[in-house]
Symmetry: D2
Subunit: 372 residues, 4 copies
C-alpha cells in the first residue's frame, strides 16, 4: 500500500524554499518521496509573472542536490503547479505532496491517493484547440491509473498546468507558417485553461469526444468539469497533471472532498466541503480543528455576464487591475475567513471549471480517529 | 418625532443617479428629505479617483433642479460621503438617508437616528494635525446633537469625510510659507483619516484632549474608535460628518448596530452584528431576510505588521496594486459572502478605526414586527 | 470667410473648466464660437475611465449656462473628444477650437479649416462592423463639406470618437437577440477604433468599399489611414467627427500639417512635421517658437509583433499596466522632449491609423509673417 | 595594462541568460573576465519585483558552472545591478562588463576603466542613515582605487545597488529592539537610494562629512551627485558598487561620458553626451553609428513639485501606476527615440542623483580610429 502526506509550507519570497530544505535535511521529508507541488506565489498571475519560474528553478535545484539527478530531468517528472497572485489576505505558500510505501492491507476505508503525469509538449499552434484537449485527456487518464483510483467518482480534484503562447512564441509559430489561435498572451492563457478543462472532462468521461468542437472552448459554458482546476503559464511547454482522490489502495488519515461553487458568494459550498471531511465552520473553523486541514484548493472566475446575483460588478471593466486578480482577492477573502487562515490556493481563470461564474473548492483534511 | 429611511440604489456608472431621480419623480423620495449619501463608486479610491467628484457633481445638480437651490449651497448642506473602489464582488451603489417628520410619541424602543454636520475648511497645513482633529471633534458633537442622540453608547457609526492635500495644494501651501505635514498625497490621505478617527474618539469622549499629541497619529495605534469610519479625498476642503445611532426620539422599523473586526478574517464580527439586528447568517443570510438589510458599512485595513494570524500577506509590498485596493477586495469578498449581496460599503484606510489591522462593521436593518 | 482659433488650456482635474470659463467671461472666447474640444484627461484611457464623462458633463453645463441651450442639445452639436491617460510627462489639457466669421476675400494662402459632424447612434451589435464603418465614413464626408475643404489632400487630421460596448451593453444586446462582436469591453474599444479608421479611409476615398470585409478589421493592417485618429469610449453612442485641414476659404495665421510615424522611435517624423509648419527643433523647439505651437496631436500603438526595430518590448505581456498606457507614456516622452512641453495629445490605440506599430503626428502652428 | 569590454545582451525573460552562455561557450567571453553586470529586467521595479532575484540566481548558477566556484561566493564578488521595469519601448537586456589584461604601455589617451567593490551588510536599522552613507562612501573609494582612476574628474558613473527593508525585515528589526527609519518598503527604497547618492558624493569628495545630517536625506535636494546612479532592492544586504570612468592606465576603444539632465524633457543632455563620445544625433543616431554605442545609462525622477516646466504632471497622484514606472516610461521613450534603440538602462528613483526633478545620462561608446 501507499500513503500520501501533504506539507503546507510558507515562503518569504518566490525563491525561498528554505522550509522544504529544512524538512529534507531533518529527514522529515525524503526528497525521493516528493511527488508534486501545488502553490501560490506572489506574482500577478499573468503572462509576465516570473515568480512561478523563479520558484520552480529554485525547487528543482534543491531537489537536484538532494537526489543527485539533473534539474532538467526532475522538471519533467515532478509537477510543480504554481498559481501567481496572493491578492488580499492570501499568504504565499506551497503544498508538498509526498508518497511513500506503507505497511498494511486493504483499508477499511479509503485514503488520499495521488497520481501524476506529463504530456508531450504542446505546439504553439495547438494551444487551445482539440489537439490540446486530447493531450490533456490522455495525461489525465495516465494520472488516474497512476494513482490507482478505480472509480471515477473517487477523483476529487484534477490540477492541470497548461502551456500558452507569448507574443514571441506566437510570432515564431506564424513565421513557421503555423496559425496560433491568438497572439494575445492573455487570451491564449484563457484558451489554454479551457482546453485543460475540456481535457479533464474528457479524461474523466464527463463528456464525450464528439460532444464538442474547437469553437466550444470559451463559448459553450454548459461544458464544465466540477473537478478540473487549470492554470496556465508561459514557463512550460507540456501539460502537467496531478490527480487527487480517495482510494482503498491507500492508507493514512487524509481524505479529500470537493464541491462546486455556484458563484463568488457561495459560502455554503465552503462550509459543505469542510463538513464532507468532518470539520465544522460556525462561522469559522475552530482553532482545534484548523490543524487538521492539510490544504484548500479553490478555482474562481469573474462572472462574464457582469453581474453577481443581479448586482453589477466592475471586474471586467477595470483597465487598472486584471479581472483575475480581482476575483482571486474576493474569493480568497471569503474562503480564508471561513477557514481562519490565508494559506489557501485560490486560482482564477475557472472557465469551464465548475458552474459558469463560479468555480469549485476542494479540501484535504486529516480524519479524526473513530470517525466514519 | 422624526423617522429615517434608507434607500440603497445601484448605478450604471459614477454619473448615473437615474434611480434616485426616478424615486424623486415618482414621489417615493421627497428631495427635501435627503439628508446624507454614503456610497461606493468604481474608482481606485486614491488621490486620482475622480468618480467621487463626478458622482457628487451629478447628485448636486439633480437635487438643485428638484429643490431650486444652487448646487454650491447644497454641497455644503448634504454630506455626500463616497468611497472609491468596488474591488472584487462589490457592486457600485449608494445609500440615500432621508429624514422626515412622523407622528407619534416617545417610542417603546429606539429607532435609527441620523445627524449631520460640516466643519469649516481645513487648511492644507492643518491636515493630519491637532487642528484637524479638533475640527472633526467639534463637527461630531454637532452631528450627535443634531441627531438627538442623548447617550453616547447609542452612537453606532460616525462617518467622516476629511480633506487631504494634493501635490498642487501642498506646493501652494509651501509657497505661502506654510509647512504641510507631507506633500505626498497618499500619505496625506492616511494622516487625514487618522485625524478623523482621533476627532471621532475625541468627540465621543472615548479619549481625552491631553491623551495624545500630533505624533500619535499613524503612530500610537492603541488610540482607536470602534465607531469611526473615515474617508479622505481631494475633492473637499471641509470635514463632512454623518452620525448614525439609535434614539427613542425617532420612530420607524430601522435600527443600527456595530462590531469591531479584530482582523480581516473576522467572520464572527459579521455574523454577530447581523444577530444584533435580528438576522441570522448560517452560513449566509436567507433570501427572506436579505430584504430587511438596509445598508452594510465596513472599514478595513491591511495589517501593517505584514502578517495576519501569523501568516505573511503581500499587500504592503505590492507596487502594482495599492494596499487599500487589496484589503477592500478581500474583506468585501468575506462580508458579501455572508450577506449574499455585493452592495456593501467597504472602505479601506481604517487607521485608528477599530482594532489595529482590523476595522469595524455596522449594519442597519429593519426589525421584524414583535421583535424585542 | 471664416477663421479658426485654438486655445490650449490646462486643468487642475477633470471637472475643472475654470480656464475656459475665465476666457468666456473676459470675452476672449465667445461661447457660441466653440466648435469642438480635443483634450487629454488624467484617467486610465480604458473602459472604466470616467474622467471623460466628468469633463464632458462639466463642459456642457458651462456652455449651457452661457448659451442658454440645454446641455442635452449641446452634447449632440459640439464634439468633445477626450483621450484618457496622461502617463509620464504629459499634462492634462484641452484644446478649444473656435470658429468665427472674418472679413476678407480669398486668401493668398490657405489657413486652418475645421468641420464637425455627428452620426446617428451605433447599435451595440454594429460596433466594429461594416455598418459602423459606413456610419463613420458618412460623417467624415459631412465634416469635410462642413469645413469647406475642397481637395482631399488638404485634410490633415480626422479625429473620430467612436462608441463601444460595456459588459452591460453587450449583455443587453444579447438579451435582445443581437450578436455583438464581443462582450469584452477592451476588445470592443479596439474594434471600434478599427471601424473608425476604416471609416475615415473610406470617407477620404483612401480605400474603396469593396476592398475590405468585416474580417479585415484588426486583421489586415495594410489598410490604414495616416490621417485618422480614433478614440473610443463607453460614454457616447454616436460617432463624433472633427476634420482639420487647410483651406483657402479660411483666413488666419494657423496652419496644420501631419506625418506618419513609422514606429514608436520615429523622432524624425516629429522634427519633420514641425518643419512643415516652419518650426525648427534642434534638438528642441526654441522657447521663442514654442508659443507658436497651438496644439500637437499624436496617435501611437504598441507594436503587436512584440518587437521594435528588432528588440523585444514587454508592453503586450504586462498584466499590471495596460499596453496603451505603456505606449502613450513612451511616445509622449519622446514628443514632449522635442517640443519641450507636456501639453500634447497622445492617444493610444492607433490600429489602422498610420503604419502598423507606429501612428501619426499632426501639428497646428501659427505662421510667422512673411513666411511662405 | 587592462582593457574593458562591454557586451549588451538581450533576454527572453528574466531567467534567460542564454546569450551569455553562448558567448562563454564560444569563448568570445572568458567567464573569469566577467566583472560586473548592469541590466534591465521586466519587473515592476518595486519591492515585490522578483525578476532581479531570478536573473541573479540564474546568472550566478551559470558562472558557477563555468568557474567552478560556488554561487554563494560569486554573488559577493561580482556586482549584478539590475533595475526592474522596462516600461514603454525599453527592451530587457543586460550589459556584461569584462576586464582582461592587455599588452601595451601608457596610452596616449585614456580608455574605459572599471572598478567594483562590496560593502559589509547594512543592518535594517541603518538603512537610509549616516551609517549607510558612510558604508557606501567607503565602497566607492575602494572601487575607484580598484579601477586605477587617479583624477576624480575621470569618474563618470557610479552605480550602487543598496539594500532596503521589507515589511518583514523591518518587523524583525523592531522585534530586536531596533528602530528602522521606516517600515514602509517603498519609502525604505527611497531612503536607501538617497543614502547611496550621499555616499557617492562623499566618496568622490563632492560633499564633506559635516555638510549634511541624517535629516538631509530626501529633504535637502541641493545635495546631489551628477555621477551617482542608485538602485535599491530587497534581494541584497550589502551595497554593491561599480565605478566607470576613463583612465590612461587602461587601453581599448571604449570611452565614457556623462551629463546631468535638468528635467525629464532635457533632450539636449542626450544629444550632448552623445557628442562627447563623438556620435551625432540629428535628430537620431545614424544606423552606421548605432553599433558604436556600447551602453546607455540613465537616471530619472518624477518632479516632486508636481510640475515640469510649469505644466502639471500626474505621476505622483496616480494610485494605479507607480510614479517611478511613469517616469521610466517617459524618459525611456525620449532617450530611445534619440538613440534609435530600446536597449537602454533607464532607472527611476534619482533622488539626489543629478538636478532635482531631472537626473543624468552616461554613454559608453567605441571611438573611431583617429578621433581625438
Amino acid at each position: 500500500m501507499r500513503t500520501a502526506q501533504v506539507f503546507r509550507l510558507s515562503m518569504a519570497h518566490p525563491g525561498d524554499l528554505s522550509e522544504l530544505e529544512r524538512l529534507i535535511v531533518s529527514e522529515t521529508i525524503r526528497a525521493a518521496d516528493v511527488t508534486a507541488i501545488i502553490g501560490k506565489t506572489e506574482g500577478n498571475g499573468g503572462v509576465n509573472d516570473f515568480t512561478r519560474g523563479y520558484f520552480t528553478q529554485t525547487l528543482m535545484a534543491l531537489l537536484s542536490r538532494h537526489l543527485n539527478k539533473p534539474a532538467e530531468q526532475l522538471i519533467r517528472e515532478i509537477p510543480c503547479v504554481l498559481s501567481g497572485g496572493t491578492e488580499g489576505v492570501m499568504s504565499p505558500h506551497y503544498s508538498v505532496f509526498c508518497v511513500s510505501d506503507a505497511k498494511g492491507t486493504q483499508a477499511q476505508r479509503s485514503a488520499l491517493a495521488i497520481g501524476t503525469a506529463f504530456s508531450a509538449p504542446v505546439a504553439a499552434e495547438d494551444v487551445g484547440r482539440r489537439a490540446h484537449v486530447d493531450s490533456v485527456a490522455k495525461a489525465v487518464r495516465e494520472a488516474v491509473a497512476n494513482a490507482g483510483i478505480e472509480r471515477s467518482d473517487d477523483v476529487h480534484f484534477v490540477q492541470v498546468k497548461c502551456p500558452c503562447v507569448t507574443v514571441a512564441r506566437a510570432a515564431a509559430a506564424i513565421a513557421a507558417g503555423k496559425t496560433p489561435l491568438t497572439a494575445d498572451p492573455n487570451r491564449s492563457m484563457a484558451f489554454a485553461r479551457a482546453a485543460g478543462a475540456f481535457g479533464v472532462a474528457l479524461g474523466l468521461e464527463e463528456i464525450k469526444p464528439d460532444s464538442f468542437a474547437d469553437a466550444s472552448l470559451l463559448s459553450d459554458f454548459s461544458v464544465q468539469s466540477p473537478r478540473a482546476s487549470i492554470s496556465s503559464g508561459v514557463e512550460i511547454e507540456s501539460n502537467e497533471v496531478v490527480v487527487l482522490g480517495n482510494s482503498p489502495q491507500w492508507t493514512g488519515r487524509l481524505r479529500i472532498s470537493h464541491r462546486p461553487m455556484i458563484d463568488a458568494l457561495d459560502i455554503g459550498a465552503v462550509v459543505d466541503v469542510l463538513a464532507d471531511v468532518g470539520i465544522a465552520a460556525d462561522p469559522q473553523v475552530a482553532a482545534a480543528d484548523a490543524g487538521r486541514i492539510a490544504t484548500v484548493l479553490v478555482k474562481c472566475e469573474p462572472d462574464r455576464r457582469g453581474r453577481i446575483r443581479g448586482n453589477r460588478h466592475t471586474m471586467l471593466d477595470d483597465t487598472d487591475i486584471n479581472a483575475q486578480r480581482h476575483i482571486r482577492g474576493a474569493v480568497g477573502g471569503l474562503v480564508a475567513g471561513v477557514i481562519g487562515d490565508g494559506r489557501i490556493f485560490v486560482s482564477g481563470g475557472a472557465e469551464h471549471q465548475g458552474p459558469d461564474g463560479g468555480g469549485l473548492i476542494a479540501v484535504i483534511a486529516s480524519q479524526q480517529r473513530g470517525s466514519a
